[in-house]
Symmetry: C2
Subunit: 265 residues, 2 copies
């Protein structure tokens, strides 16, 4: 179904624009996805699309073809309205309102491999890049403990480059509850730490490892460091004091992809 | 020497503010460094500081102590003037004008280990993070071929977290000239490629390896791919199409740090 919306004051446009704010995303369990490729990823991955706004830059025929086999309402709007729905400088001209999937840690039952855990990682670009990297490395999921950047913010969604739709992501997980769950489900809980522990290249990779990355400025929280079965570090040789958290996550993820017992993948 | 500058129209302030633009940086071979820790890094590393602007947030005593053993002119200015000299939202209150070091590839003679090469890497955050990571992994230097982001832009300098002062960085290098130099100096030239080649985990690390990372959207240039002694890839397992270039560089850098013959470090 394609129809025109002319006014930026239209109530559907207004409601969609509100999803740029976390308050409304949480209330309605909906978020915005921008760009042709990302909207295509939503369709392919089977997440629920509530409605789509598109401008002339995309074209009615393209949109009609994309949504031929669905009955998602598609609204043809001005580029100015698209700009109201995004925070990118030069939006491509298509924005979808997508239903959140409320994955919980119990949904991770039966998985094995590397589970990436974020502990107060606050920068949206870092969170998005880490999710993209976890996908590329074949991690079985990403867990965001309480107080991380909001996965559904436009910046994070964009930085994941579609990977947010590829692997299970659990958000707002209570730390104590998560540590308890790891013990119950036989996940080895490792925490990345600058202050020593085991060298990542000397460690024995087990079949189920949850690797925790800490806050950009302060590293992992005291609670997670205390709960860790192992503290693990990436050996550094130069004069830099630390690594960017997304880079450190990348090194852990690919070392795991390379070393973890194959049978578990 | 500490003295007050009150007017934002002061010619020294105006000249320093111009260094936010590449044109003036190139002309005068000077650039801006912001923040207490970064300015401290400049002092420690011995790069030439031309002058310093600081506001009350830092304090005259701190600045006097930092520059006790030098005769760098230090100007006490308003926070508004500091804001004119930076593009950060909440600047710390200290900005130094620093002299560029014009390192050339001939300065890399005698080095061995991993030399990281950037081929049209355009995002300042990526370039800065890669330099920081190269430092942390103990790379012997970073070469930016023509058409990369400007290393001396405030965004890159900030993202390096001081690492720009820790290892040799050569900029604006002609591609043909660089490939010729690699051959002369016995550097194995590897180029990161998504389109096959050798798996990074199967490769034999030699004592002198120049690893080339390509553009964010298009990968390495045809010229570098053609010149490469080896095309190398990071094996991916998930549904992501590619890695962020800084993450890929991180995986190469730490794999090299771990596998390259120790004698060469």
């Amino acid at each position: 179904m394609i129809r025109d919306i002319i006014s930026a004051q239209n109530s559907l446009v207004k409601a969609a624009a509100e999803l740029k704010m976390k308050k409304y995303r949480t209330q309605r369990e909906e978020f915005l996805v921008e760009g042709v490729r990302s909207v295509q990823e939503v369709l392919t991955s089977g997440w629920g699309i509530i409605e789509v706004f598109f401008a002339d830059a995309i074209g009615t025929e393209t949109v009609a073809a994309m949504f031929a086999s669905s009955n998602v309402p598609c609204y043809h709007v001005s580029q100015a309205i698209i700009e109201r729905l995004t925070d990118t400088k030069t939006p491509q001209g298509i924005v979808a309102v997508v239903k959140m999937q409320n994955t919980t840690i119990t949904d991770l039952a039966g998985l094995s491999g590397l589970l990436l855990v974020l502990d107060e990682v606050r920068d949206p670009g870092n969170v998005g890049t880490i999710i993209r990297t976890a996908d590329a490395a074949g991690a079985c999921g990403v867990v965001l403990l309480q107080d991380c950047a909001d996965v559904y913010s436009p910046k994070v969604v964009r930085a994941t480059m579609g990977s947010i739709f590829h692997l299970p992501i659990v958000i707002d997980v209570d730390k104590a509850r998560f540590c308890q769950w790891c013990a119950q489900e036989n996940w080895s809980l490792w925490v990345s730490s600058l202050e020593g522990g085991t060298d990542i290249y000397d460690i024995a990779w087990e079949a189920k490892v949850a690797v925790t990355m800490g806050n950009e400025a302060n590293g992992a929280s005291a609670q997670m460091l205390k709960a860790a079965g192992k503290k693990v570090y990436i050996p550094m040789q130069g004069k830099a004091e630390s690594l960017n958290v997304a880079i450190a996550a990348g090194v852990f993820l690919f070392e795991g992809a390379h070393k973890q017992p194959l049978a578990t993948k």
